[in-house]
Subunit: 203 residues, 2 copies
């Protein structure tokens, strides 16, 4: 754990987490900020707000807007975009695999691969075979990685990340938490969060 890192909380099902995940590496490097990737589960967070699915499904006007806005955002950033169906995609297994990968050095690349497959190509990230395919693409043997993802120790990591997100006041994704506990919500605040972290905790 790095005390001087910006915590990047995201859920693989979260739409605006896609551009954030694809951009944060280069932007953080330019800003001189270390990032800790923290996949968590939005489900329990939404449940606490009384929601049993994404607010983009619960509030259709907001949902229609979000899809159009995300399309515009991706076009501007030259990121491929393909609306996932169904939405939201089941993100539990992918989140567990990611946590298993951080120790081994392939966690961040796996996260980007999942987002690119889901929102760039419309693939089903809840399918184990899709995740196995993505692992293979990174040169990681799928079977042991998936077994480790499902270990009790690793499941606990994901629960811990979700609990830490809730303690930090996270109510949506992506969210960024600075070492001095400033919370920034949304892909729109990525730059602000990095600037805050760089100003208050120079590396």
């Amino acid at each position: 754990m790095n005390d001087a890192a910006l915590d990047f909380y995201f859920d693989f099902a979260s739409t605006y987490s896609y551009p954030a995940a694809m951009r944060i590496g280069a932007l953080a490097q330019a800003a001189g900020v270390t990032v800790r990737w923290r996949p968590f589960l939005l489900g329990p967070v939404f449940k606490a707000q009384g929601w049993d699915t994404s607010p983009f499904n619960l509030y259709p006007a907001k949902g229609r807007y979000m899809w159009r806005d995300l399309e515009r955002v991706c076009a501007e950033l030259e990121l491929p975009f393909c609306r996932p169906d169904p939405f939201p995609q089941p993100s539990l297994l992918a989140a567990r695999v990611a946590h298993a990968g951080f120790d081994d050095g392939w966690g961040e690349a796996f996260c980007r691969a999942v987002f690119a497959a889901e929102f760039g190509e419309g693939r089903q990230i809840g399918d184990e075979s899709v995740l196995a395919d993505l692992l293979q693409g990174l040169g990681v043997a799928p079977a042991p990685a998936l077994a480790r993802a499902r270990s009790e120790e690793n499941k606990a990591r994901l629960r811990d990340a979700t609990a830490a997100a809730e303690r930090a006041g996270v109510f949506g994704a992506p969210s960024f938490v600075t070492p001095d506990d400033e919370l920034f919500w949304g892909h729109d605040r990525l730059g602000d969060a990095l600037a805050w972290a760089a100003r208050t905790h120079p590396r």
Copy 2:
């Protein structure tokens, strides 16, 4: 009505409408875009989503975040900030007065004065005496302006603006609608909305 104008939908009770209202004049001029100010009422729009007050009150984690974020945004923009109490402020009368003022050329200045009083000084914008004071500060005789604000013709304007917002897909404020019906939501999208309008409908 100007077909080549960006429609700026806002409610005087809306927090992020404050920085948007204070900035849009200068930014629109720089972008070469004409703006039509359209105060409307969020109440009916929220009711359609099942909410009887601001989502910032209904979802406390989101509300706590918004107040801190708004404080940061205002500090960055060097706008005075004072959290209104109670929140949301009753915005009906201010919206009616604004609509009465657009014909006379003091509508936009009045809107800025209301936002500055509410979010910069914590004044009660639901009080007629506060609005009268703001009108006086603009050199506008309060009594006839308030009488005109309450005329049936003027009340209908506010209802029309709210209906137009709903037709345009507006679900929150501030929102911006371009001449080719692109919707942009939030103070964060002000620059994008102006750029879109400038690109597709050069003046």
